[in-house]
């Protein structure tokens, strides 16, 4: 059977489709033209403008604050959830599993809207705190999923071994189980962090005055059709950070695999 070239061609086209808009963004961030419609010469002035935008830096700080607390909260709750779901089989766990899936299937707008109603009807002031509470809520399920998949490969016999060697239950948990699961929990936490930093819709519903996160500010800049090149410059910087992070984590895992391979 002669292999068809169609899959290869589609894959290349899809990759071009994925990277074309990103290329346009990067190119336009160095474009003299205000509207990026045609090339009018190289400039760095949009990066200078970006540097002067204090509201953006404040928003970035807000985003990071929320993401740190949200990922810590989600790591704790999600790990507990994963243990309970892995360990026990009961009616309670069936309901528990359903609750964990709900944030994964509910469209963001429903989540934002329902949380807004909760805060409004209980009289809680909208602020960075309500944003953090909302972010923890949609991050828990992702952490639970990641940790649960690690637990499936986890050999619980080593806990018995630790107990046989005289460890208390707490010691066995803290010194054996937790360190072994730490990479899984951290991976879940990292996922939560990126989801939190990226979130716009839920945040838009539950944010209060002065609690704008970076996506909220970017949204209002796009919406008001102002300073497009500054958004381009910001996007390019964020892209550089993302690619560097991906590259670094690739290098780390590649190094570890190489080391493990040589053992």
């Amino acid at each position: 059977m002669k292999p068809s070239r169609l899959p290869l061609i589609t894959t290349l086209l899809v990759l071009a489709f994925f990277y074309l808009p990103i290329g346009v963004l990067i190119l336009n961030s160095f474009n003299e033209s205000r509207f990026g419609t045609r090339w009018q010469g190289f400039t760095l002035k949009w990066y200078e403008r970006l540097w002067e935008r204090e509201d953006l830096w404040m928003a970035l700080l807000n985003s990071l604050k929320v993401a740190v607390f949200a990922s810590i909260g989600a790591m704790i709750l999600g790990t507990c959830a994963a243990f309970a779901l892995h360990r026990y089989r009961s009616r309670v766990q069936t309901a528990h599993a359903l609750l964990i899936t709900m944030p994964l299937v509910l469209p963001e707008i429903l989540m934002g809207m329902s949380l807004l109603l909760l805060f409004v009807s209980t009289g809680i002031q909208l602020s960075l705190l309500t944003v953090t509470l909302a972010h923890i809520t949609f991050c828990v399920s992702y952490v639970a999923l990641v940790v649960q998949s690690r637990l499936q490969d986890f050999d619980f016999q080593i806990v018995d071994a630790a107990r046989d060697l005289g460890a208390t239950k707490l010691q066995a948990f803290l010194k054996v189980v937790l360190p072994l699961l730490a990479p899984g929990i951290l991976a879940g936490g990292l996922l939560a962090f990126t989801l939190s930093v990226d979130d716009f819709v839920v945040t838009f519903f539950v944010k209060g005055p002065g609690s704008d996160t970076l996506p909220v500010v970017i949204y209002s800049m796009i919406k008001k059709s102002r300073e497009f090149p500054v958004i381009n410059a910001l996007s390019t910087l964020l892209l550089v950070v993302t690619f560097a992070a991906v590259w670094a984590s690739q290098r780390l895992t590649a190094d570890r695999e190489a080391r493990e391979g040589s053992d």
Binding site: V14, L99, E108, I109
Partner: protein, 278 residues
């Protein structure tokens, strides 16, 4: 007895949190959908069915219909594009596979709004693409590439395609491709082998990919808001408008309630089906 207490201890944190911040708010939406409108904004007193009368209005029916066809079309295009890619990834040499997967995922670690914004610039009426299409008379003088439902579909495909590729690839990777050779040897055409052997073989991945694109599309809000214009609005935009512009929370809740039921009902149904099978 002690075991059940430990179970409770492990379950309570996440159960309590999600109960308070997911289940209670969802029920709250269902309840507020039956409240009167408060002209001052907020939630009125008294109970009523009236908020659901909105679904009799032609403008809302148009919006609902558009929401469904935009979601369905986006899902279809994502599938058609993702299937060959998943196939290719499953068949390509291992060292290339991980590189290609990374290339597919990396753009989607950048901010979602920025990805939408990039299209905003490409499709802009003064942008290079629009001018080129005008110069070869494929686009009318006053037509725009931006602010219509076509733009919503295009940008939605862009944002959801990787979510379709990944589950399809995961299923295709486990598929035994020698089955296709067997089908060909038995006289099936390439297309026939694809449809009757490959597609059923990755059924689970297909369903996951369909759900993962279609369901969030129903609640789409940002993409139609930024590139849809008035002709590309979806039900999510109406919910947001009732919420922020009109401050009519009961009306927004009525629409959100219908959307929640549409989204959650299949999930509950599938859970029951799974439980039935066990």
């Amino acid at each position: 007895m002690r075991d059940s207490r430990r179970e409770l201890l492990a379950t309570l944190p996440s159960f309590g949190w999600l109960g308070l911040f997911v289940l209670v708010p969802t029920l709250l939406v269902l309840a507020i959908a039956f409240r009167e409108t408060d002209p001052a904004g907020g939630i009125g007193a008294g109970w009523t069915w009236r908020q659901f009368a909105i679904f009799g209005q032609p403008s809302i029916l148009v919006l609902l219909w558009r929401t469904i066809w935009i979601s369905a079309l986006t899902t279809l295009i994502c599938m058609v594009m993702a299937l060959p890619v998943a196939w290719y990834l499953a068949r390509v040499r291992k060292e290339w596979r991980s590189r290609l997967l990374l290339l597919i995922i990396v753009p989607f670690w950048t901010n979602f709004l920025i990805r939408v914004f990039a299209w905003n610039q490409i499709l802009h009426s003064e942008g290079g693409l629009a001018r080129f299409l005008r110069s070869i008379h494929l686009l009318g003088e006053n037509d725009s590439l931006l602010f219509n439902s076509g733009a919503v579909v295009l940008v939605s495909v862009y944002t959801y395609l990787p979510f379709a590729i990944l589950p399809l690839y995961a299923a295709a990777e486990k598929f035994d491709f020698s089955l296709l050779d067997a089908a060909r040897d038995l006289g099936a055409t390439a297309l026939r082998a694809f449809w009757s052997v490959f597609v059923p073989g990755i059924r689970k991945g297909l369903i996951t990919a369909l759900v993962i694109v279609f369901v969030p599309m129903l609640g789409s809000y940002v993409v139609p808001d930024l590139v849809g214009g008035t002709d590309g609005q979806m039900i999510g935009n109406k919910i947001a408008q009732r919420n922020f512009a009109d401050r009519n929370l009961p009306s927004a809740s009525a629409m959100a309630a219908i959307l929640s039921l549409a989204v959650l009902a299949p999930m509950l149904f599938r859970k029951r089906e799974e439980a039935g099978k066990q």
